[in-house]
């Protein structure tokens, strides 16, 4: 059930959580969804600064330590695809990335890596997006993806996407946190959490476009990121995914976080005035246990800062 909680109530539950923080909450399996006690399956934080939004959204979900354990190697995978500046809203907001990194480090992660296989020249994307600098400052290492790191993975359970080369460091990490930016995309409709996973694909991933709505849920089901944090600080409402036109940008100062990638994507459609049912890959995701996509059935909480 979707419900709005007010600030005071939130603080109370956050306090309770802080008390119970030592209790090791189990990593959620995708199969069962139904909320742990007071904890929603999807958290939305609006307003405030990027790091406040991230902190509050994660707190609502029960804290990052549900997924990140001390000593873990964590991969934070933002969208760094384009040689654009943060205010152009083509890449994930650097402050959001830095905030996620900081959360992981504070929880005791041994190492946090941030990378993306970019569309434009990697060097340009990493620097101009501001992500390399911000994430490094927050304590992550931000290497470029290297050819040698890609390996072909068989995906025998999939019907359409039977296998693809993926980036090993992302696949082998203890925890993969998917941090896309919500954007318009002519072919896919919108690019959100599932589409962002294409950033760890090798080879000629353009071919995914040929059957994108079938491939993306299968890709997500195979990769299974532990957490998806959709950055909607600024969103692109047209000429995506790389934009470049200031009039296509809308500032929303919003974060949507969920361990259920399809729920996160479904909820994010509402930012664009769309419905989950408008986006093919979200509709097709229902067969893959990626989370509830019916907004009325998602157990979510919204918090305004």
């Amino acid at each position: 059930m979707g419900k709005l909680i007010d600030r005071r109530k939130f603080i109370k539950s956050a306090g309770l959580l802080a008390v119970g923080a030592t209790i090791d909450l189990p990593k959620l399996s995708f199969a069962k969804q139904g909320g742990l006690n007071n904890i929603p399956d999807l958290a939305v934080a609006k307003g405030g600064t990027a790091s406040e939004r991230v902190a509050i959204a994660l707190k609502m979900l029960g804290g990052i330590n549900r997924w990140v354990k001390p000593g873990d190697t964590v991969v934070v995978k933002p969208n760094i695809g384009w040689d654009r500046r943060p205010e152009q809203a083509a890449d994930t907001n650097p402050e959001v990335v830095a905030a996620v990194v900081a959360q992981c480090i504070n929880t005791g992660a041994k190492r946090v890596m941030v990378f993306d296989r970019t569309c434009n020249n990697a060097k340009r994307c990493y620097h101009n997006s501001g992500i390399a600098e911000a994430a490094e400052k927050a304590g992550a290492i931000v290497p470029y993806t290297i050819e040698a790191g890609f390996k072909y993975y068989d995906m025998p359970e999939n019907k359409y996407l039977k296998g693809w080369s993926l980036y090993r460091p992302a696949m082998e990490a203890d925890c993969l946190i998917n941090v896309p930016i919500a954007k318009h995309h002519s072919l896919a409709g919108l690019t959100l959490g599932m589409k962002n996973l294409m950033g760890i694909m090798g080879d000629d991933r353009g071919k995914i476009h040929w059957n994108i709505h079938k491939y993306l849920p299968e890709l997500a089901a195979f990769i299974k990121p532990q957490l998806t944090i959709i950055d909607a600080t600024r969103i692109l409402i047209a000429n995506g995914p790389q934009g470049g036109n200031p009039k296509d940008i809308k500032q929303l100062d919003t974060i949507i976080a969920s361990p259920f990638i399809a729920s996160a994507d479904a909820f994010a459609t509402t930012l664009f005035g769309k419905k989950p049912q408008d986006i093919g890959y979200i509709v097709n995701s229902v067969n893959y246990n990626l989370g509830e996509i019916d907004i009325d059935k998602i157990n979510y909480q919204v918090e305004r800062i």
């Binding site: 060097k123 340009r124 002519s186 040929w210 036109n245």
Partner: protein, 518 residues
């Protein structure tokens, strides 16, 4: 410390400096020292290009410094500075190459060659780049040596990456290398192997006899020899000479005559080997008079012959057959000056290719696509890479102004070509497959690729509504990222031609850059 040792130190310093500039070429204008400094200050290139295009090249005015040094001190550049000369000296040190007197016989060849280049330039054909040592070195480094190193590094990395604990250090190392020298992916130039062979051949000659190239071919050496004929710093031999012949055996360029006393000052590269080796200190290099010169005599017949050769070369270049089909697809780097001037200014130093390899990886050296005059000039190949929307690197590192310096705003509006769909191949049109990868990557803000939604009827009669992309000609800048990213293997569903390309006039006026439609 003897002067000879100072000379060796100078050579090593300038060689290191050259490598450093090569390293930072990928920084473009952001580097404090212009990465193309060696090329810009090359007086031979400056003079020949200016003759050929009939204007003084602004970027190359610094070459006046070396011109004056050349007049005063002769071929001191060859002995003390030239990076290729230093490569030769290092080679002969390792290979214990002897000085070979018989190379003396080909001394004159380089002067004839130089004359031919000058005559050709007067008739508007700049060909000196073929053998200019500086342009040749950056060319060989860019097309042959660096790609080989990158390939080797990548191979090594792919082996080491299987060792788990090495993964992260490797990623970090690769990242820091990628920020400067080594592009992330291996890259290749179509003439790389050729220049690799050229390098092996000139090194082979160096192993045969010291400074073979410098004595026989080098047009820059010949140029310094001619302008420095009346040089002030000269080798002088006093009465104390005991005719032991030691000096002759260490003179790298065979500049000392059989009498041990006279010197051919057009050949002497002021290396101070003779001064160093002379047991009686009879040989000195100074500004005093009393030096005995031995002259290089160029026969009038051969001078005229090389003049005619140059003329013929120029004429041949002009009538060269340009295949219209390939010429129309030649995309020049953004900021290129008019085609005729472009091919005359360009010295094929490949600074632009070097910079682009770390950015869009778009530029390749042409073969004959642009005609004989345009042989080996840079052009964009949208299947190896594409022109990065936010990049202006090639315009920042061109020493000759063949590519005019553009600021980012101008560059983003500079049209280098136009994209066209090949509807027989493009998937929505030819097979009814949803695609639009090209549209996704189009960087122009308001996208130059738009689409219509139409029904596609398949062979079996079934129907589906698909997005069909098309080009907005007034927005397309021809960057080619659509072609590069098109996932159709082999021939892509979209291609660029140089239609609508804008060329620049190479002269900056008061309002900044002046633009021209080409």
């Amino acid at each position: 410390m003897t002067i000879r040792k100072v000379r060796i130190a100078s050579q090593l310093f300038f060689f290191a400096f050259f490598l450093y500039l090569f390293w930072i070429t990928s920084k473009g204008a952001a580097s404090r020292i212009p990465p193309d400094l060696f090329l810009r200050s090359n007086p031979l290139l400056a003079v020949v290009i200016s003759i050929s295009v009939r204007i003084i090249i602004p970027t190359m005015i610094v070459s006046v410094i070396l011109l004056v040094i050349g007049i005063l001190l002769g071929r001191v550049f060859c002995g003390w500075v030239c990076p290729l000369g230093t490569i030769f000296d290092i080679t002969s040190k390792i290979a214990k190459t002897p000085v070979r007197a018989e190379i003396k016989k080909v001394h004159k060849f380089k002067y004839y060659l130089l004359i031919a280049f000058f005559i050709a330039a007067i008739f508007g054909f700049q060909a000196v780049f073929y053998f200019d040592p500086i342009a040749m070195t950056t060319r060989i480094f860019t097309t042959a040596l660096l790609p080989t190193v990158v390939e080797a590094v990548n191979f090594l990395f792919s082996l080491l990456f299987n060792i788990q604990p090495l993964q992260i250090p490797l990623m970090e190392l690769q990242s820091s290398l990628a920020d400067s020298l080594i592009p992330l992916k291996p890259y290749y130039f179509q003439t790389g192997v050729f220049w690799g062979f050229v390098f092996i051949i000139i090194i082979g000659f160096e192993i045969y006899g010291r400074r073979f190239f410098c004595q026989s071919v080098c047009p820059l050496g010949a140029f310094y020899g001619i302008i420095g004929k009346a040089q002030l710093l000269r080798r002088r031999v006093s009465e104390d000479c005991i005719a032991c012949g030691e000096c002759l055996s260490v003179c790298k360029t065979n500049a000392i005559a059989e009498d041990y006393v006279s010197t051919d000052f057009m050949e002497c590269i002021q290396c101070f080997n003779c001064v160093d080796v002379c047991p009686t200190k009879a040989t000195v290099m100074d500004f005093k008079s009393g030096a005995k010169a031995q002259k290089t005599d160029l026969t009038r017949r051969t001078v005229i012959a090389s003049g005619i050769g140059g003329l013929a070369f120029a004429t041949l270049g002009s009538v060269s057959y340009i295949r219209p089909s390939s010429a129309s697809k030649l995309i020049r780097p953004p900021g290129s000056v008019d085609e005729t001037e472009f091919v005359e200014r360009c010295v094929r130093c490949y600074q632009c290719l070097r910079a682009c390899a770390t950015s869009g990886n778009f530029l390749q050296p042409s073969l004959l696509e642009g005609g004989l005059k345009g042989l080996l000039t840079p052009y964009g190949v949208a299947r190896t890479g594409y022109c990065e929307f936010n990049c202006t690197l090639c315009t920042e590192v061109c020493p000759t102004g063949a590519i005019e310096r553009l600021d980012l705003e101008t560059k983003q509006k500079t049209v280098i070509g136009l994209a066209h769909f090949d509807k027989e191949i493009c998937l929505p049109y030819s097979k009814g497959v949803e695609c639009m990868v090209c549209e996704e990557h189009c960087p122009t803000g308001d996208k130059a690729i738009k689409f219509t939604e139409k029904e596609y009827i398949y062979a079996d009669g079934s129907k589906k509504v698909l997005k069909f992309p098309y080009i907005m000609e007034d927005i397309c800048i021809g960057c080619g990222i659509c072609v590069y990213k098109c996932p159709v293997e082999g021939s892509p569903g979209i291609y660029i031609t140089n239609q609508n390309q804008q060329r620049f006039d190479g002269k900056e006026n008061d309002n900044g850059k002046q633009e021209k439609q080409g």
